[in-house]
Subunit: 453 residues, 2 copies
C-alpha cells in the first residue's frame, strides 16, 4: 500500500482529458488471494475502490472521483498458460496487450483485439471496457475472445465463469456481464482467452475522395458486396490535413475523405477481395486509389490512420477524443452532421474512425484553460450524441461510459434500462464501493432534440 | 386466451422426456404492446408465465411446472426487415429458424446458427437458450448473431438494447444477459440479427477409426494445425450401429468412432484444408477416409449425423438426449468415461456430438415406465456431469439449465455464482413470475466425487 504523494498523484488521472481526483492510497496486489483479502477489508469499511491497469481509457473510467483506494493490477501480469490443443491462453489482468499479441504471434497464433492503446493498455482494462480496435469489423472486439473469467466480488468471494469451452450455457452469461462492466461489479483476476489461426496474407490500400458521400457509399457498397475487410477506416479532411503535416506523407490536401482498407486471409482470397474493392472504389468515384506494393508501403499507409490521435494532440493543449457509433450505412450522414455541429459551435472537430463498424471518433482540439470554449465543445458533443442516437446509434462504441458518458446513458437505454443496470450493480456491490460515480450519473442529462431543418 | 383442455394439454410439455405439467391457460399475443399489457396483469396478480416458441428445448425449459399462463409467440413470426447495407435482419421471436435461414439464403446471405431442431424451433427460443448447432465451431452460436433486442419486463415496461451496431458499450451487456436467460427475465419481442456473407464452396468427408483415442487425437490435431472446420462431429460405436440400421448407409459396424468433417469458404481454401485434414486423419490411423465427390454424396454422409437422434429414438420408448461439454482436447477421455459409467450402471448410452466444440450428446435409450431403470439412468447422468466438470467442462453446452440441470448449476458456477444469478433474476422479476422453478433449484444436488481408480 502506497500513501505517498507521488503514487497518489500518478493514479489521480487516466487517458481522459481534464479529469483528476486524488485517491487516498494506491495498492498493487500480487495474487487473487490478496485481492480477495483486500476486498473484504474495503467492503467492511465501505472504502471506494478503483481497479485499473494502465488507465488508457478515454471515458474517465479510472479516475477515483470519490477518493479511496486505487488497485493497480500491473504486478499480476503473467501469461499462465497457452493451450495449443484448445487454442486458449490463460492470463492475468495486468498483462500488457501488445506483449500478449506478440507472444501468441511467436507461437503462430493470433489474438485479434487491437485497441489503439495496445502498446500501453492491459488485458484486464480491455476486458473492463470491451476494447475494440482496427480489426473489429472482421474479427469482433474483446467480448468475442473471452471464454472465461476469474473475478473477486466486493465480498471477497472468488467466482469463476466459463472455461476453456467453446460453448457454455450454464445460467446467465456472467462472463459477458463482467466484460464492459468498467470495474463497477468485481475485480477481474484471471481470463481465459480464445486464440485463432493467424491470416497468412494481408494487403493494404488507400482510396481518396473529393466528396464524403462517395467515401461513405464505398463503405456500404463493400459490405453490401458481401466483402468483410479486416480494416475499413475513414479520415475526414481536417484529419487528413493534420496527419499529413505531422507525418509528411504527401497526402492530397484537397480530398474530403480517405478510406484505409486492409484485407487478410488466404492469398487468393485477399487478391480477389482487394481487386473487387478497388473496382468498387473507382465505381464510387474515388479520385485516387493506391494499393501497397509491399509491407513497407502498407506500413506507410497505415501510419496515416495510426498517427491520427498523436497528430491531432499536437495542435492545441487539450484533445478530446470522442466515440460515436451509428449503423454503418449512416456514416456519411453522421460525418456531415458532426461538421455542421462543429461549425455551429465554432469549434474544431476532426473525425476519423472505424467506418466499417460505423464507429467514428470525432476529436476536438481545444484548450482546457479556455472555459468559454470548453463549454462550446461540450455543447457540440452533446448534440453529436443526440444526432448519433437519432440515426439509430449509441453514445459509445468502444470507449465506455465511465464518468464522461454517464449523463447520457439513459438516452441510449431508457429509464427502465438504467434502472435494471443499477439493480444489477447493487446485486454485486450492495455497499457501492466498486468504482463509485461511474456509469450511472446522479441525474440524467435532459435530452434536447435539435431541429436540423 | 385459451382455457380449453386441448390447448392446455398441448402446452403442458416440451421436447424433454418425462416431464409434463398443465398450464391454467394459453395465450397467443400479436404485438409487443399486447405482451406488455398481458405482463402488467400477470405481474399484478402474481400469475406464473412461461413464454415459449415451439418448445423444442431438451431441458424442460418450457414446462409450466407451477401452472399459470403459457405465452406462445407463434403469431409474432414476421421478418420485419432485412437491411442489405448493414447486413442485419429485424425479426419477431415466433419466426421459424429454418424459414428464416432459407429466406436470407435467397437474398445471398447467411445466418449460421443451425440447431438440430431448426425445422421446428423459433428464433425467440434459440435466443432464450443460446442455441448452437453443427456450425458452432467455426461460426459460433446464437449469441454471436444477436445485435439488439426488444424485450418486455415483468412490469410491462419495454426495453431496447443494442441496435444495428457492430459495437456498443453503453452500460452492461443486457443483450447478452437476455440470451440464454431461458424466459426467466423478460419476454423477447424483437431481435436484430447479424447476417454474414455465405461461404461459396463446401466439402464433406467421413473418417472412420478402429479406436476412439485416434479419432479424438484427430480432432485435436486439426485444431492444433490451425484449421477450424465448419463442422467436426463425432459418432461413437453404439451410435454408428443404430444410425446404420436406421438409415441403411452401409457404415462399417466394427469402427469405434466416425468423424464427420465439413469445411466451407473459398474453393482453393476448402480444397487445401480438406487435403490437410485428410492427411491428419491418415496420420492418426483412420481406417478409412471418404471425401464426398458431390453434393448428393455429402448429403448422404451428413445423414449419418443428422439422423442420430431419430435413429436412437426408435430403439426404446424413452430417449434422453444429454449435453455435456468439455475442453475439446478432453473429448476422448470424456467418451471413454461415459461408456465406463454406462456400463457400471447397466444402461445404454450412445454418444455423438460436436467434437470440435467439445460438446457431446450422450443419449440414453430407456423406458420411462421402468422406474428402477430410470433411477439408474439418472445416476449415470449425474456421474457424467461430475466427470464433465472434473475435466474442466460444463453441465450444459447448448441445451440450457431449465428444470433438468437446475440441481447441478451450483456445481459449475459455485454458491456465490448462483447467489449472484438469483439476485439478477430478482432485479428483473421481483415477484418471481417469469418461468418459475427453472434454472434455480430449491436445493443444489450434493456433489459426490466418484473415485475412478
Amino acid at each position: 500500500m502506497h500513501e505517498d504523494n507521488q503514487a497518489r498523484v500518478t493514479h489521480s488521472y487516466d487517458g481522459t482529458a481534464m479529469l483528476q481526483s486524488l485517491p487516498d492510497a494506491v495498492i498493487y496486489p500480487g495474487s487473487t488471494e490478496e485481492v480477495s483479502r483486500i476486498m473484504k477489508v474495503l467492503n467492511q469499511h465501505r472504502i471506494p475502490l478503483v481497479s485499473r491497469g494502465s488507465g488508457t481509457n478515454l471515458c474517465g473510467g479510472t479516475v477515483p472521483v470519490q477518493g479511496g483506494v486505487v488497485m493497480v493490477m500491473h504486478r499480476m501480469n503473467r501469461i499462465l498458460e497457452v493451450d495449443l490443443d484448445n487454442l486458449t491462453a490463460t492470463v492475468q489482468p495486468g498483462l500488457n496487450t501488445k506483449v500478449f499479441n506478440e507472444y501468441v504471434e511467436e507461437l503462430g497464433l493470433f489474438y485479434p483485439p487491437d485497441p489503439s492503446s495496445m502498446a500501453i493498455s492491459t488485458i484486464g482494462g480491455n476486458i473492463a471496457e470491451c476494447s475494440g480496435g482496427l480489426r473489429g469489423l472482421k474479427y469482433g472486439t474483446t467480448k468475442d475472445y473471452v471464454l472465461g473469467l476469474e473475478a473477486v466480488l466486493p465480498s471477497g468471494e472468488i467466482i469463476r465463469t466459463g472455461g476453456k469451452l467453446m460453448k457454455d450455457v450454464a445460467g446467465y452469461d456472467l462472463t459477458k456481464l463482467f466484460i464492459r462492466s468498467e470495474g463497477t461489479l468485481a475485480v477481474i483476476t484471471e481470463a481465459i482467452l480464445r486464440l485463432v489461426p493467424p491470416p497468412v496474407h494481408k494487403k493494404t490500400m488507400l482510396a481518396m475522395y473529393r466528396d464524403l458521400a462517395s467515401a461513405a457509399r464505398t463503405v456500404s457498397s463493400i459490405i453490401a458486396s458481401r466483402i468483410i475487410p479486416a480494416t475499413l477506416e475513414i479520415l475526414d479532411n481536417p484529419t487528413i490535413r493534420v496527419v499529413d503535416e505531422f507525418a509528411g506523407l504527401g497526402l492530397p490536401l484537397d480530398m474530403e475523405a480517405i478510406l484505409l482498407i486492409e484485407q487478410d486471409g488466404d492469398p487468393e482470397l485477399v487478391e480477389r477481395d482487394i481487386e473487387s474493392i478497388h473496382r468498387i472504389c473507382i465505381g464510387q468515384k474515388a479520385a485516387q486509389v493506391t494499393v501497397a506494393a509491399n509491407d513497407e508501403e502498407a506500413k506507410r499507409l497505415l501510419t496515416a490512420r495510426r498517427s491520427a490521435f498523436t497528430a491531432l494532440a499536437r495542435l492545441r493543449p487539450t484533445t478530446i477524443l470522442e466515440d460515436a457509433t451509428v449503423p454503418r450505412s449512416k456514416i456519411a450522414e453522421m460525418v456531415v452532421e458532426i461538421n455542421r455541429i462543429a461549425k455551429r459551435h465554432n469549434v474544431t472537430i476532426c473525425t476519423f474512425g472505424h467506418a466499417g463498424d460505423g464507429n467514428l471518433h470525432p476529436t476536438a482540439t481545444t484548450d482546457a484553460r479556455d472555459k468559454e470554449e470548453i463549454i462550446r465543445v461540450e455543447e457540440a458533443f452533446e448534440e453529436i450524441f443526440e444526432a448519433t442516437l437519432a440515426l439509430g446509434g449509441t453514445i459509445t462504441g468502444e470507449h465506455g461510459v465511465g464518468l464522461l458518458k454517464s449523463p447520457y446513458l439513459e438516452w441510449k437505454i431508457g429509464e427502465a434500462g438504467v434502472g435494471i443496470m443499477k439493480g444489477i450493480k447493487e446485486v454485486f456491490d450492495p455497499n457501492g464501493i466498486m468504482n463509485p460515480g461511474k456509469m450511472f450519473a446522479k441525474a440524467a442529462r435532459r435530452r434536447v432534440v435539435i431541429n436540423r431543418a
